[in-house]
């Protein structure tokens, strides 16, 4: 298989656009150190393009293969019940390697999300100024609205209708009674009464 075709497949996998065949091709070629090198270069390039934080290069695939290689030897030699125990050990070590990788990636994701949040802030305040005076403010959280728009239970009847407003009020007032930190809990409680 030509180098170019492989690189094209790699790129497709990276962009999540690879078909079954391409994925197989890449997986087969993945034992090759050069291919893995290309892969991690692509990762770095992609991270730069997306302005993600750069993480130090970490070859999880290699780590997993190595862990397998290390563990598999005693497992093969073992007989009877020990054999399955050995398998368990392999599975465990692979899990650990994968979990460690996932944890790393998650951290990266969180950091990225924070960045996104910070850059978003001016945008968030934007509609307030540009858009129609009051309504703009409500748009932002409009999609999180439940059936309780405008503080009134809508489309629900019976138990919830009677009990929920009372619970909301009790929670708000109890917070307000306790809270000395600011006027915020008071304001929340007051806003519940504005119907």
């Amino acid at each position: 298989m030509s180098r170019d075709a492989l690189q094209e497949s790699l790129s497709a996998v990276m962009d999540n656009e690879a078909d079954e065949l391409e994925l197989r091709r890449v997986l087969n070629a993945f034992d090759d150190a050069e291919t893995r090198d290309t892969w991690s270069r692509y990762q770095v390039a992609r991270a730069v393009m997306h302005k993600d934080l750069l993480i130090p290069r970490l070859d999880i695939a290699a780590a997993v293969s190595a862990a397998l290689a290390d563990e598999a030897v005693p497992a093969k030699a073992a007989r009877g019940p020990w054999r399955s125990l050995g398998r368990l050990a392999v599975a465990a070590s692979v899990t650990v390697a994968v979990l460690a990788g996932v944890r790393l990636y998650n951290q990266d994701e969180i950091a990225g999300a924070e960045l996104a949040q910070q850059t978003q802030q001016p945008v968030m305040a934007g509609p307030q100024v540009k858009g129609p005076a009051v309504l703009a403010g409500y748009k932002e959280s409009a999609d999180t609205t439940g059936p309780m728009a405008n503080g009134v239970l809508q489309g629900q009847s019976g138990w919830q209708d009677q009990r929920l407003p009372g619970y909301l009020r009790q929670h708000a007032q109890e917070s307000a009674l306790k809270g000395t930190e600011s006027a915020l809990p008071y304001a929340r409680a007051a806003s519940l009464e504005n119907r």
Partner: protein
């Protein structure tokens, strides 16, 4: 050996906290002190999904006493007067038996504790109510709570603006001063409650305290949340005993309500009102079926998980 670089990578995540985290802690410490030391008066707005209101506030620190009065300027004249953090009177409908709960000392903002569950950082400066402000972001370290963005007055560290944000950075509520005066101390007349303000003592005596028959515990709680209050009251309509428990992590709060239900048609529900979420679920106990309702300023997923983890236990015979 391979584990070592991995481990250092993981650990470096914790140590790589931005240097201005300390600065943010200092600002929050100043904020905690400001309300105990600084007299002020001003006007603020509060906005959440479906509600926008304006309020006046008078806050006086004199002879070691903190006296505060809040009054809503639009719609009904909601009013609260507080003395040293204890509510003296409220207007409007107070939930019967509310003040029965023992006056747990309200805890001051503790940046050290907050730092365990939130990432604190100074992220810039702004201008609010004609005053220069510093922006402190309080970002949760897990997915179980919301984040805040506080704009603190550069001169006094009073909160000029407070935004509650969900994990996608969407605004859930806004609290913002439009006018703040820290140079004129409010006088007695301004701090005097109006006639519509019902003293707490009177409101309390109407609802005698009741004993709950079960003890409740949560099999799972989001890390850092502690029980700060439990109470039981008899509902005036249904005559049923409603137990309530309140938890907080130093910033966010939620309440758990437990009430017996007899009606089989009652459905479970989940709903969101601005920053506040309400999730209710059925629970089978030895006493029969109960409805568990979690209400608080927490993500809906957290509330759902808490509602699922409530367990009840029959109390040994009531104490004489």
């Amino acid at each position: 050996m391979r584990a070592i670089p991995l481990l250092t990578l993981l650990l470096s995540g914790w140590f790589a906290l931005p240097a201005h985290a300390d600065e943010a802690q200092d600002w929050l410490t100043r904020l905690g002190r400001a309300e105990q030391q600084q007299s002020f008066q001003g006007t603020f707005v509060y906005e959440r999904n479906g509600s926008f209101s304006t309020h006046d506030i008078w806050h006086r620190v004199q002879d070691g006493q903190v006296r505060e009065r809040l009054l809503q300027l639009d719609g009904s004249a909601q009013e609260v007067v507080r003395l040293d953090g204890r509510t003296q009177c409220v207007s409007g409908t107070l939930v019967a038996g509310l003040g029965n709960s023992r006056d747990a000392p309200s805890r001051a903002l503790d940046p050290q504790k907050l730092n365990q569950f939130y990432e604190l950082a100074v992220i810039g400066k702004s201008r609010v109510a004609g005053r220069n402000a510093v922006i402190v972001s309080i970002t949760p370290r897990d997915q179980y709570r919301y984040g805040f963005e506080l704009h603190l007055d550069r001169e006094t560290a009073l909160p000029l603006k407070s935004l509650l944000l969900n994990d996608q950075g969407q605004l859930l509520e806004r609290f913002q001063f439009t006018r703040l005066n820290t140079s004129v101390v409010p006088d007695d007349r301004e701090l005097q409650p109006s006639n519509d303000c019902t003293p707490i003592a009177v409101a309390n005596s109407k609802a005698p305290e009741v004993q709950s028959t079960e003890t409740w515990h949560m099999e799972w709680l989001p890390p850092g949340f502690q029980l700060t209050n439990t109470s039981a009251r008899k509902d005036t309509q249904t005559k049923a005993t409603v137990d309530s428990l309140m938890y907080e992590d130093g910033l966010a709060r939620f309440s758990v309500f437990l009430e017996p239900i007899s009606d089989a048609s009652v459905t479970e529900t989940r709903t969101q009102l601005g920053p506040t979420v309400a999730v209710s679920r059925r629970l089978n106990t030895v006493d029969g079926e109960m409805m568990v309702t979690v209400v608080g300023e927490i993500p809906i997923g957290t509330a759902e998980r808490i509602a699922l983890s409530v367990r009840g236990e029959k109390k040994p015979a009531a104490q004489p």
